[in-house]
């Protein structure tokens, strides 16, 4: 690919003009605030929707997906504590067989 086609040269010229402006925009405070706002709105809407569906499941005395997920995260936190403790024990007693080794 020694010869660069005309269409490619045209694109490269256009890209060189557009790219700095686009990059300046995404690095600006305005872009950061707009993105943060959009993410905040998305989260609020998502929470409202989850709240409505969870209320519906709770009406028939069943757990909603958010309840299950919350439990999974809590169990995950316990799992992490156990993992850290086992590693710290291993470091304190280097001679003992390592858990979950080879």
């Amino acid at each position: 690919m020694t010869h660069t086609p005309t269409w490619r040269r045209t694109y490269d010229v256009a890209e060189r003009v557009v790219a700095p402006h686009a990059e300046r925009w995404v690095r600006s405070g305005e872009f950061a605030r707009a993105t943060a706002l959009a993410l905040g709105v998305r989260r609020t809407v998502g929470r409202r929707l989850s709240g409505v569906t969870a209320a519906a499941w709770h009406l028939v005395n069943l757990p909603a997906q958010t309840d299950v997920q919350r439990l999974r995260v809590q169990i995950g936190a316990l799992d992490r504590d156990v993992r850290r403790l086992s590693l710290q024990l291993e470091q304190a007693n280097p001679g003992r067989e390592r858990s979950g080794g080879q």
């Binding site: 490619r8 694109y11 990059e23 690095r27 405070g29 943060a36 936190a77 993992r83 390592r98 080879q102």
Partner: protein, 363 residues
């Protein structure tokens, strides 16, 4: 028109027809997902595992156990944001392969794919628990007293924090590549929490981690025109099987992120607010951590066209580290170009290997 001109025109026309056919074939292959390039192919064994993390030892023909001469151990520490196969992308274009050829006993600490069990993970988990255990395991397997440590991107930050927080760490040398240090120069990532006042919790998924799609969109926004340019590049090289295979491997990796543990994300937001690395305000496990406590032979590699960790973000590192024997290598290339491609093959990798052989080649 001379006979020579006519032959030239006919030749170009014929080449265009052939390339159009190859483009159609390769385009169809890509669209159907056929002929996906294999990545991370260098043979390896899992020598340690904990949670989602695994320590891999790459196989080598000579040296090591029972070999003629012991190979110096080199532990690679990868980032928490993406997948480690970029270090072993394709046969012939693999950082790991080159390190093995240079005579190192190569290990890679892969963090795996976090799930809700990792949501509460903090930097301490990696710096104070996983890394010391992995280093210990490398010493055990290799029989060496000390280990060469090499971090890439955010893996460099983990390696730095480990070396600074564990002053007696059994390290022979420390090499870091594309390391974000001055966090004010990180661009959109820093702006979101500082100027956008973004609450990190608003980024977390139901499993408590930052989802990979958010990370991908974050990286994509750093170079907005790249999304179009990558397709333009593809169209231009679509006729070449080699180009398509490299493109698929590299673009596939660039889109292949892993969830970031929510606990780490919250800590990073705090570090961004404080610009904690440059301002010497790092706290790990309740202790103040100073990069000036790092005293082992040190090399930092940065790229002047890196759009993810800009040169200005990585540049202050050399002054912050306390080692008497410290070096900086600034290269003409991008974030990934330091590891794969022509610049990597010709300049980056040979220079890193030279440093490692000089500082950490003997056990």
């Amino acid at each position: 028109m001379t006979t020579h001109d006519a032959t030239g025109i006919a030749g170009r026309a014929s080449q265009k027809v052939v390339r159009a056919g190859l483009r159609a074939r390769n385009g169809a292959r890509m669209a159907t997902g056929a002929a996906r390039p294999a990545v991370g192919q260098t043979p390896k064994d899992v020598v340690w595992r904990h949670g989602r993390s695994e320590l891999w030892r790459y196989r080598s023909d000579e040296g090591g156990d029972g070999g003629p001469e012991p190979r110096p151990p080199l532990l690679l520490v990868f980032s928490l944001f993406s997948r480690s196969y970029i270090l072993d992308l394709r046969p012939g274009n693999s950082f790991v392969e080159r390190l093995l050829e240079a005579g190192f006993d190569v290990y890679l600490l892969d963090w795996g794919v976090p799930d809700e069990r990792d949501a509460a993970n903090r930097l301490e988990d990696y710096v104070d628990d996983y890394l010391p255990a992995a280093v210990e395991r490398v010493r055990e397997v290799s029989g060496a007293d000390r280990v060469n440590l090499l971090g890439y991107c955010f893996g460099s930050v983990l390696a730095l924090l480990y070396a600074a927080h564990h002053r007696d760490a059994p390290l022979r040398s420390l090499t870091v590549m594309t390391t974000p240090v001055d966090l004010d120069h990180l661009g959109p990532f820093g702006n979101l929490t500082t100027q956008g006042r973004l609450d990190v919790d608003s980024l977390l998924d139901a499993d408590g981690n930052v989802p990979p799609q958010v990370i991908y969109q974050g990286f994509r926004s750093l170079k907005p025109t790249a999304a179009v340019t990558q397709y333009v590049d593809l169209w231009q090289g679509l006729w070449s099987d080699d180009y398509v295979a490299s493109y698929q491997a590299l673009i596939g990796w660039a889109q292949d992120h892993v969830p970031l543990p929510g606990g780490v994300a919250r800590q990073l937001a705090g570090m961004l607010d404080d610009n904690a690395i440059v301002n010497d305000r790092l706290v790990i496990g309740g202790d103040r951590v100073h990069l000036s406590d790092i005293t082992v032979p040190f090399l930092t590699v940065l790229a002047n066209q890196d759009h993810i960790v800009p040169e200005a973000s990585a540049a202050p590192l050399l002054d912050l580290v306390g080692s008497a024997d410290k070096h900086e290598l600034r290269l003409d290339g991008g974030h990934v170009g330091l590891l794969v491609g022509r610049t990597a093959a010709r300049t980056t990798i040979p220079t890193i290997i030279e440093f490692l052989l000089e500082k950490g080649g003997r056990r």
